[in-house]
Symmetry: C2
Subunit: 418 residues, 2 copies
Amino acid sequence: MVVELVCVGTELLLGNIVNTNAAFLARQCAMLGLSMYHQSVVGDNEERLKETIRTALDRSDIVILCGGLGPTQDDLTKETAAAVMGFPLVEDAHSKERIEEYFKNSPFKIITDNNWKQALVPEGCIVIDNHNGTAPGIIMEKDGKSMILLPGPPNELIPMFHQDIFPYLNRLQPETIYSVMVKLCGVGESLVETEILDLIEAQENPTIATYAKTGEVHLRVTARASDEKEARKLVKPMLKELKKRFGSHIYATDEATTLEESIVALLKEKNLTLTTAESCTGGMLSARLTNVSGVSEVFKQGFVAYSNRAKRKLLDVKKNTLKTYGAVSEKTAKEMAKNGAFITGSDICVSITGLAGPDGGTETTPVGLVYIACAYQNELRIREFHFKGNRQKIRELSTVNALTLLRSCILEKETAGK
Amino acid sequence: MVVELVCVGTELLLGNIVNTNAAFLARQCAMLGLSMYHQSVVGDNEERLKETIRTALDRSDIVILCGGLGPTQDDLTKETAAAVMGFPLVEDAHSKERIEEYFKNSPFKIITDNNWKQALVPEGCIVIDNHNGTAPGIIMEKDGKSMILLPGPPNELIPMFHQDIFPYLNRLQPETIYSVMVKLCGVGESLVETEILDLIEAQENPTIATYAKTGEVHLRVTARASDEKEARKLVKPMLKELKKRFGSHIYATDEATTLEESIVALLKEKNLTLTTAESCTGGMLSARLTNVSGVSEVFKQGFVAYSNRAKRKLLDVKKNTLKTYGAVSEKTAKEMAKNGAFITGSDICVSITGLAGPDGGTETTPVGLVYIACAYQNELRIREFHFKGNRQKIRELSTVNALTLLRSCILEKETAGK
């Protein structure tokens, strides 16, 4: 089945925002095994919107529109799409009630007349409740085709898609798709592709696709079958093979879990506490870890020791070490990690010291040279990196590699103990 | 003049990457005063690509295509666009030389045959050198229309656009565009729009456009005139008016400067040192500040005091304060800021303590309640916020509002002293 996207909004044509909805929807449709040949962006103009929707409807089986469902005059998607499909607009009592409820809980908001137009829906359509905003999603079906209208804001569109649209699209097709995302850390994209070249070349059902992220590689394994149970069975052998080949490099096998979430879960599981000691990353590492809800059980404090003096005062790094080896050195990274753990009484401490650039590089200490150390019980691990990229990139790479080292320290200690 | 974008690439249709090129190009075209009514994404398929290009050429004066200029079989943009425009492909000696040079400097790269196809160009076109890759940019002109082909990778497209395409497009039009970005902090989008409603409604030349960012509002003032000198003159009165209305809320009047950059510049100018004391933001604030090259002159260390005990041990927050008022309180925020400055000997300390959620909220301490304090010399400022959003959003809002408070403390102290 062929699906097409039409994203509505003048802010997209003006470049005010990046079209993340298109990437999200395209990815979900690919997961569903739908073919996508076109995406369009059009503004809040009735004539051009009508023309774009018609073109899409003519050449595709499913048209997904996002944006333009709000209460203002510029929001034309619903009226225009309904007109193209040939459905009149009628008031949906359920949606009207939900809008009343939404504003009831915000005593300072006045329900202006134009908000009520969000309760109008194309006759006979499927109404999809919006749990994060006022505009309901809409599905219209006619002559074997489907037109799906979704709200523009990603925090409304994404949950709605996961909860209602994905299952709907999955049911539309004779086959069901089941997909697993295998997430790897500590191994580069080229190496991963080389390792699974045979799987990529032989793929039929399931398929395997590679996505590169900063410091991570994600592999999506997708199978299609008559129902989900069969599809899950088809996915199993390939998952097993990936586990065999990549072992503990795999930190998650689901869409949602981030590397920091998997690490915090691991720390909780093992009843361990963590401290961070950062220099050039300036707090990026602790910021990433503290994005995990419930991290307070395992993380109590972090150090941002940006200057040499701060390294001495906060982390007891020896004056002589800094003088002889410099702030960006193996010795300094090790002392930061070891002392960070000792001072705070934490089980583990990860330290990062390096040169993020663009200035300050020398022959011995070039921009991109970063040392990451991890102190855990009696072990003290150290890694040296030569990152490429701008300041932000070097700091991001330092952060994700610190998380990777931290994780492997916890896991390997566990294996060593057996 | 009407411009249209066609982004070529199956990876876009599969949702493997986000279409940042479209947002960048759309924004640049808006700055140039060009009207954009359509954007399309199409894959590496000759028929569909041809159809999409033809449709764009029929309805627009300028068509910008990006992607598909590489050496592989899937790269069809040049051949297809040239065919639609009716130009044969010929070898461009200059481009061939540049490709030879490019590979000469990479002794391990073998120049495969398909790389030479990148030296073929439509007859009579303008060839644009690519300083970051092998594929040259192409401009074809015919019957009063222009078709511009750009390489897909952003690190090749963006510099090429700035250096060659922007000036070309600026020359295409009888008038020149000059644009200034006025960046505001510490004032919300609705309030800004209300303040400049008269300017928005009366706008002709220059025009004024609003862009909302997290905790910031950016206003783009754009004038068109016969040359840049005249355009600059036209922009002046509106800039003056905005300065009058928003005063010190304006932290920059250029595209590039970030809020943290402007603050670090201010600290350097006034010879001040800064410390950060964070709880719920966990390092986000110091991470943002340390993204600024040269920040080490003004920032030496930051505290991430995530637990109550860490607040006591690292920042000397009184046990009684935490017991009586709790970690998320005005008193705790003030002690964190005051003590942070004292302990480190820094001139200024900004502290953040709050509840980022989603768990832990109570009636007295709901999710989103955040206190931000700033200690500077004898002054101790405190702000209470009730942020809405998920954990990440609340932390981002806390961070940008801390930067805003920090900035206003420095500026107002300066004014008070006069």
